[in-house]
Symmetry: C2
């Protein structure tokens, strides 16, 4: 183990008294991000004005930062580009894969997938019209449901509620044996667990940067297109910055080189600046080390909670190979329990109907924080501290 | 005239020695934007963490700020929402309009439209398949080409190269008489000229915030859906934040209320914070005053340049009613001329093949800046100061 997690922890600015177990929803602020964003606003936008597109390298940020993320997900140089939101990138990946796999028309996913992915797939199938169909099965039935009938298998590697993890290599292998292309959503994988897109032969992947990559609220998404597909993949959202020569302003669209064609409109420079600075945290850190340390934290949390809180039911698989970087417990009053926890400085989140989610990353969480979180949760459960009207009143976002 | 443009000018932080005539490409930094973004990063993201979605009102920003922009484009409360990029919003508006106007399948636009709009329309037509078609005519032929065959008329009100302006009310009236829905791109209109979407009966409109609205590089786009269409318009990009109940995480998509359904993924909070602060500039300013003062600045610039630089040919219509807020001149060596101007602190931009663009807004430009810009341009033309290798070498973005 070469990574000094005390050093990575010092790179974040966490509020006093907070144990932050919600990096799977919104990563905390790296100190460097604040300084970089301020510089981008005042020195670049403020002083360079329009010249920032050249002088500050704004135009290249989506590709340059894409290459930084590629290293964290086992992707080839030149295969990842940043932009838009995860939903938009799902649409692009799915539309490209469907077009490449004509005349097949069925998308398979699972009912543990993040609903937005399913909504996007459904909207695309509806737009494409006759015969196009989104089919969902239970996560454990995905493998058996892969047949020659499918055009695309679209899966989120790690379930946003339970933390259950699919076996990416195995599912890709079976899908390819049946001529099916696979689109992976890495929202809960990137920066959390080792991902080997190139080694495993992935076709397309998408993900967001504001969870384990700590880019801040609304940070841009990424899209991966395997090099072997790049010249065939045609983005359904054919925007000018995905054009071969954006500043020629030709009337006809010609897709850009490689993954650049997946760019659409003007990139969000302030958000990209935050992300770029946030990625400095990863210099010298390997995902293998992160994974080993995160599993130890999770195991410690599970053992502590199960010993102290028999009311809580583990929703996350026990086997290391089958889970991502979060631990989820079920509780009938989960919403109120989470509000009580947050009031005491232990920040996780709640997902309907009864899931308490806790994300773990050794970048800024250590065994001490885990032990304190367990103690506070145990006290809340034991004293029924959650049973108060202010904790039961639902707000829109949790 | 009640607006004190000295007061608005003091709200911007422009570099010394710069005359900024490129607000039609990227507006300059309002001082308040820098402070607001810093606060959003350090006090909100840094200290509130995930709680910022509730405590700092992040989740409501796309609608709340949409309502602020609605006031600048003559739109009804609850008819505008922010997000994504202009290209994505064009796709959503166009897809909705096409679906509402089945079985018609032809989109009409003009060949002066911003190419990205045409690329997006072409990509959508291609995705929809058989029979769908994008047709383009010259801008002056649009009115005559409106027939019962068309599904949608998609136009940018102000031409990004020449500054020519369409007659919105007149074209909407003819389109509606033929059962055609109209999608307006207000990229070069919002914050520059009076727009009356509600009064003129517009169906859909889209625009960007980083030009005359000064939101910074990559600021989010907006979309307008007329209230009468909101419950029928179905967003092709059906993302979770456009769902009726995003945090119910239902597996089936149900479009949200009103224009909220046009939201897609997680909104870019840092960019929205910059925009929100930038909009404070508009408190107490009317578009009618902006328009009158901008036309005076443009006329002054045109008269000065035409008197001093016979080599330059005006590309912008002379009639006030037919132009937006920019003035364009043609010059065979336009690229080099613009580089020479920028080197002297007069920042406009160049659009292939031969267009020099200059944007005018009285928010931070006065008659003195116009006169100095004319003098510098005149000297560059007279002395052929542009005829140097470093001004002729093309960079990617100008």
């Amino acid at each position: 183990m070469t990574t000094d997690f005390n050093a990575t922890k010092a790179m974040f600015d966490l509020p006093d008294g907070v144990i932050y177990l919600d990096g799977n929803s919104l990563g905390p602020m790296p100190k460097a991000a604040a300084a970089r964003v301020a510089q981008t606003v005042t020195a670049e936008w403020g002083q360079m004005l329009i010249r920032g597109w050249n002088q500050a390298g704004w135009m290249e940020m989506p590709s340059r930062i894409g290459n930084r993320i590629a290293k964290l997900i086992g992707a080839e140089e030149g295969s990842v580009v940043m932009g838009d939101t995860l939903s938009i990138k799902v649409y692009q990946a799915l539309a490209s894969a469907l077009e490449m796999n004509k005349p097949r028309k069925v998308i398979l996913s699972d009912n543990g997938n993040f609903p937005s992915d399913l909504y996007i797939a459904d909207g695309l199938a509806r737009t494409l019209g006759e015969g196009y169909e989104l089919r969902t099965v239970a996560p454990e039935d995905v493998e058996a449901a892969i047949t020659d009938e499918l055009a695309v298998l679209m899966l989120t590697e790690v379930d946003y509620r339970t933390g259950r993890k699919h076996d990416m290599a195995r599912l890709i292998e079976k899908a390819h044996a049946h001529g099916v292309l696979v689109v992976w959503d890495l929202a809960h994988s990137a920066g959390a667990i080792p991902v080997e897109l190139a080694r495993d032969g992935a076709d397309f992947a998408v993900g967001c940067s504001y969870k384990y990559l700590n880019s801040g609220p609304g940070g841009p998404a990424f899209i991966y297109v395997a090099p072997r597909h790049q010249e065939r993949a045609r983005p359904a959202l054919s925007g000018w910055l995905g054009h071969e020569a954006p500043f020629a302003f030709d009337l006809d669209y010609r897709p850009g080189n490689g993954v650049e064609r997946m760019r659409v409109g003007t990139p969000p420079i302030l958000q990209l600046a935050a992300l770029d600075a946030a990625l400095d945290v990863w210099e010298g850190v390997t995902l293998q080390e992160i994974r080993a340390a995160a599993l130890a934290l999770q195991d410690r949390f599970i053992a502590g909670v199960e010993a102290a809180c028999p009311d809580l039911e583990l929703a996350t698989p026990r086997e290391h190979a089958n889970r991502g970087s979060q631990v989820s417990f079920r509780h009938a009053e989960g919403y109120a329990v989470m509000q009580a926890l947050i009031a005491e400085g232990v920040i996780g989140d709640f997902r309907a109907p009864d899931i308490l989610r806790f994300g773990f990353t050794p970048l800024y969480i250590g065994p001490d924080e885990v032990d304190r979180a367990v103690q506070i949760l145990a006290r809340i459960i034991e004293t029924k501290a959650w049973d108060r009207p202010e904790f039961k009143a639902r707000s829109r976002v949790t």
